[in-house]
């Protein structure tokens, strides 16, 4: 997640990270992490184990993915992923609910 300000709201955080801010805390799948002081990017990122890295020259911060459990996945519930296909058409992974999906990562190198 790349931002040019740390002052972002919960909706933007949810859209970029998949972590939804609810009354019980920051939630993804069945996991909720309490946020005693409510949502604020830096403290929330800290609780979720997300590194916040600044590039001062570029005026940007990058927020890394969560690491609070020590694993890449905190839940077996598949995250939403929105990508374009090779012809520029947007595709949402969740549109395949009801089918088995074999997701194949590859690269031209």
């Amino acid at each position: 997640m790349l931002v040019d300000t740390l002052d972002i709201d919960a909706q933007a955080f949810h859209a970029a990270t998949g972590w939804e801010i609810k009354p019980e805390g920051a939630c993804k799948g069945e996991m909720c992490v309490p946020l005693p002081d409510g949502f604020e990017l830096e403290s929330t990122a800290d609780r979720l184990g997300m590194a916040v890295v600044q590039d001062e020259t570029a005026g940007l911060w990058a927020v890394g993915p969560e690491s609070l459990t020590g694993r890449a996945l905190v839940t077996a519930q598949a995250p939403e992923m929105v990508l374009n296909d090779v012809d520029g058409q947007e595709f949402r992974l969740s549109s395949l609910r009801g089918k088995k999906v074999v997701l194949v990562a590859w690269a031209p190198y």
Partner: protein, 254 residues
């Protein structure tokens, strides 16, 4: 394989982890003439979202949207390549086979280690088993097993991903020195992430080679240009020195 599995309710979706424009991936997609969806992932979301650290990697997701196998090395049968790449791929496969035969004859202990990685030929049969038996397939993992079997991620790996994202962005706006500095940090913090390395080596290698069809497969300095190479390692020095069991760890036995 999609034509075979689609009637069984299985969708194959390919995702290209490549920062460059769609044209870099298109020749491969067209060579495969796919009936399945072919997505582009220029920001390497697959790494952050699913814990992908090498390609090819495969994730299985069931009808309810539950991951039943986390990212792991996997291949489908009949991989296809553009014509201009076939000779290169065949040559490399022949060289690997010849080397394996030589090691088998001279160093059985090392040979056993070299055989230890994920089995390319039988992986697709595991997918077929899942397609046929669904949740009863012996390859389906429980949610707890899926989470535990996903890549490890201490906080420094989160920082590595953040540096990679900055590198990716800075490269896209032609800030080459800034991008290289962040790539180097990403590599330092996620030393086992081959997609972060191969992507960066490929970008710089392609630049050195002046592009062309094979430019992205040049993942080290050209002869005489060693001092210009901005990274600690190259594909040959790192992947070449890594045993298959470590490069493509074995996660299932068909």
């Amino acid at each position: 394989m999609h034509a075979e599995l689609a009637p069984l309710g299985v969708e194959i979706v390919t995702v290209s982890l490549e920062m460059s424009e769609a044209e870099a991936s298109r020749p491969f997609i067209e060579a495969a003439n796919p009936t399945h969806r072919s997505l582009l992932d220029p920001m390497h979301q697959m790494d952050a979202l699913f814990g992908v650290v090498n390609i090819p990697n495969i994730v299985w997701i069931d009808e309810t949207g539950t991951i039943v196998r986390p990212a792991e090395p996997g291949w489908s049968p009949g991989d296809t390549y553009p014509d201009w790449l076939k000779a290169f791929v065949d040559e490399r496969a022949a060289a690997t086979e010849a080397k394996a035969a030589e090691v088998e004859a001279t160093n059985p202990e090392l040979a056993a280690k070299l055989r230890g990685g994920q089995d390319r030929d039988s992986y697709a049969d595991a997918i077929r088993d899942w397609a046929a038996h669904g949740s009863e397939s012996r390859f389906v993992m429980t949610p707890d097993q899926v989470v535990a079997g996903s890549q490890d991620r201490p906080k420094e790996k989160s920082a590595g991903a953040a540096h990679f994202e900055l590198a990716n962005h800075l490269w896209s706006v032609d800030n080459r020195p800034g991008a290289i500095a962040h790539f180097r940090e990403a590599h330092r913090l996620q030393p086992d992430n081959w997609t972060y390395k191969r992507q960066a080596w490929s970008l710089i290698g392609n630049e050195a080679a002046g592009g062309g069809e094979m430019g992205r497969f040049n993942q080290g300095p050209l002869p005489g240009q060693e001092d210009d190479w901005p990274f600690e390692g190259t594909f040959t020095s790192e992947a070449g020195a890594t045993a298959p069991a470590d490069y493509y760890p074995k996660t299932l036995e068909v």
